[in-house]
Subunit: 190 residues, 2 copies
DNA sequence: TCCTTTATACTAACCGGTTGGTATGTTATA
DNA sequence: TATAACATACCAACCGGTTAGTATAAAGGA
């Protein structure tokens, strides 16, 4: 693994554990056995490192969301389930990055916040569009508000980053099935 | 308002805006025009201040949840809707405190984290129990897992702290109705 | 009632320690 | 030998917390 990737990986773990502000660059370089000179050879600032972590996280999610949305043979329901699965599986593979993404965005400079928020909003608006289309197609309830449903889906999945342990008794696939069933079928018996 | 209350209020707003670690005690006392000595007259440490903010927030929510659960004439559905309303309305009244609660708990010392987590878990387990009872009573779907539904309800509502603006076009009451409908009836038409 | 004591509510000044960042020096590799 | 990849040493600024001291008010005794 390249030194830059080592620095990034160690940073994510430390940022997750202690937060961005309480993690010093000294902490980061000590974790991988180098010195501050090395850090500033690869990054111009602590903030730039945080920005790269954010960009990597959200652009990866957007790319994978896009491949789901392009699968025209899938129904709206199947696409929605696939996006839920994308996010829940991501806890397993990218949990630390996700938690840093949700918690530490405020420490980016304003321009970078704008960039990240635009991409984050795009992910949400893609879900909203999927729901709008499915409502129009008659597959989803006519009286739903697509924006609120999108926020609901994201709320359920993103909150899981805070409690779901993929190594626990319940597997990611079970959780995906349960959340999909809850959202699609509702709590009240049919 | 007492000086201690002033300090707490100013702190919540600053913690929300800049985060706990990036808010210095100097920032807090400057916001209300006193000096650091005043701060340490009322608090033993910055951490103690954070703990009091946390305690006030969660104990208030628990108390109000309890009054809902005690209303025996309400159905499970009505109780669940009342708890959703409790949390959404709280964004309006206690948004800053809520965001500080969700984001800054890690900065408490271990013993205090335990205390807060126990109360936070109690809030969730109360919802879980309500759902378990309603499933057994046949009011809710038999194939639901109460724990997952509780996490789902909390995910949807707590995530709203991050995006819902009570002063925007949509009112809190509208949002409560939309979320209740989504969770209870589901996305797929009946 | 007067005077002493004590409590309250602060202020100003300071301390040891840490921070992000920089300037410069050294080493390995191609 | 030139450049990439580091290490070393350092700085000015800032941090949470402490301390000594002060003005005002309340309480208590002769």
């Amino acid at each position: 693994m390249s030194m830059k990737a080592k620095i990034t990986q160690a940073s994510v773990l430390l940022f997750e554990e202690k937060g961005f502000s309480d993690t010093s660059i000294q902490d980061i370089v000590e974790a991988i056995g180098v010195t501050k000179g090395t850090f500033y050879y690869y990054f111009n600032s602590k903030e730039q490192l945080l920005m790269e972590i954010h960009l990597e996280y959200i652009s990866d999610l957007l790319k994978r969301q896009q491949t789901i949305l392009e699968k025209d043979h899938l129904s709206g329901r199947e696409k929605l389930e696939a996006i839920i699965a994308l996010l829940i599986h991501d806890i397993q593979n990218n949990g630390p990055s996700g938690r840093v993404f949700f918690r530490e965005m405020r420490h980016l400079v304003e321009q970078n916040v704008d960039t990240i928020e635009t991409q984050r909003d795009l992910f949400r608006l893609n879900i909203e569009q999927l729901i709008t289309d499915s409502i129009e197609a008659g597959e989803f309830r006519q009286d739903l508000r697509a924006d609120i449903v999108a926020f609901g889906v994201l709320g359920i999945t993103n909150y899981s980053y805070n409690w779901f342990n993929p190594k626990g008794k319940m597997s990611a696939d079970e959780l995906i099935e349960l959340f999909s069933s809850l959202l699609l079928e509702g709590i009240i018996p049919r």
